[in-house]
Point group: C2
Chain length 203, copies 2
DNA sequence: AGGACTGTTGCACGATCGTACAATACCACG
DNA sequence: CGTGGTATTGTACGATCGTGCAACAGTCCT
């Protein structure tokens, strides 16, 4: 049980680098084993380190999962922002890019879904994690609100419009990730753009 | 540790009744403790029986969770069907009733959300559970397809329309259950009905 | 070069997990 | 009124869980 691998000599790493590698290992394990099979020992083996190191960098396994979720959220936000930036200056093109990017890598990814689910399963029991969830979703909606306003959606409809688009994109992303054979990413994008058409009322 | 309660004498129950009571206890524990805190012992204490009884009725804890999910799905389907039946004969009223009921008790319920999340967390790792998920969602979409067709949605748009409405309702239901303070059930219904308006193109 | 700092290891500990199994107690039936 | 069948109990077992901690080792500073 001591070690099946030849045990390479332990090497020091920059604290930030090591911390990030633990988060990445946690995300990989969540994607491969699911939330139930994700434990300190499995994550440590995935990262190639000793189990004790996780306690050294994180207050506990829940803190590591929360950090993984925050990291995933940051990855998603960065990818969405990059898509918006690539779309140029036309407001509608920027809005389309924002929602379409949700159905392409790296966002429509099984690893992200597993992380999300593992995190949701903590929301029910822990108040601090519930607040982290609320904050991250509020950030997503706020960004969407700006893009919708730039497309001319009037202020009094802005709030519900942002909620609607968030829900639609989330639902499509969820089912696309859970059962990828049911419909394609292109179809999801077409559905979302059609919904934006009716919201903006460009006719 | 033997027993904190006065231990009422063990009573026999009809197998179906006992089985159903275990499923109900599982759902309550999932709602209260979250997926992580749901174990054989906790469920047995919630149901007022011995832990061994769960093994007697179900092949394992995963089978109990799967049965709980199937039961929840049946509850949801029955509630939706009842709402449709109450709506009368007008196709659009029936469609509205179907989607609006998703945001009212007993569907928009924290216990259901917890069950759903616990089940999703098993989808990643187990193929048989992934198929159960696909089947249940296909059933939901099929029912929606019939209601949409009755409202005059043409055949070539029917498939994507059903996917879109399913995703929107799912996303709204998910966020409504995860953070109830963000928007209300009435607002969710209004969003969904507006989306149906644009799909059916009644203008 | 040598000492201090700390990243890292490896293991021990108690708790809890899911499951198996023999013993028990209830109930229907002869 | 026994008696067999089975729902139910209680517990034991091995595995795995998260965490704490003393010892080790790599790196940097003086």
């Amino acid at each position: 049980m001591t070690n099946s691998t030849p045990l390479p000599p332990p090497r020091r790493a920059e604290p930030d680098v090591r911390r990030q590698s633990l988060i990445a290992a946690c995300a990989r394990v969540l994607a491969r084993e699911g939330a139930a099979g994700t434990s300190v020992r499995v994550i440590a083996r995935e990262a190639g380190v000793s189990p004790g190191l996780i306690t050294h960098y994180f207050a506990g396994i829940d803190a590591l999962i929360a950090a993984t979720y925050a990291d995933v959220d940051q990855t998603v936000s960065a990818a969405l922002e990059a898509a918006v930036a690539d779309a140029g200056d036309d407001p509608r093109a920027r809005l389309d890019a924002f929602v379409t990017a949700s159905f392409a890598p790296p966002i429509a990814d099984r690893a992200l879904l597993a992380t999300w689910i593992a995190f949701w399963s903590l929301v029910t029991a822990r108040a601090d994690i519930a607040r982290q969830h609320d904050d991250q979703y509020a950030g997503f909606r706020d960004r969407l609100t700006l893009l919708l306003a730039a497309c001319g959606v009037p202020g009094e409809r802005l709030r519900l419009a942002a909620i609607a688009v968030t829900a639609l994109v989330d639902g499509l992303w969820l089912e696309l990730s859970l059962s990828p054979g049911c419909f394609s990413a292109d179809e999801a994008g077409a559905i979302a753009r059609a919904h934006l058409d009716s919201l903006i009322g460009f006719l």
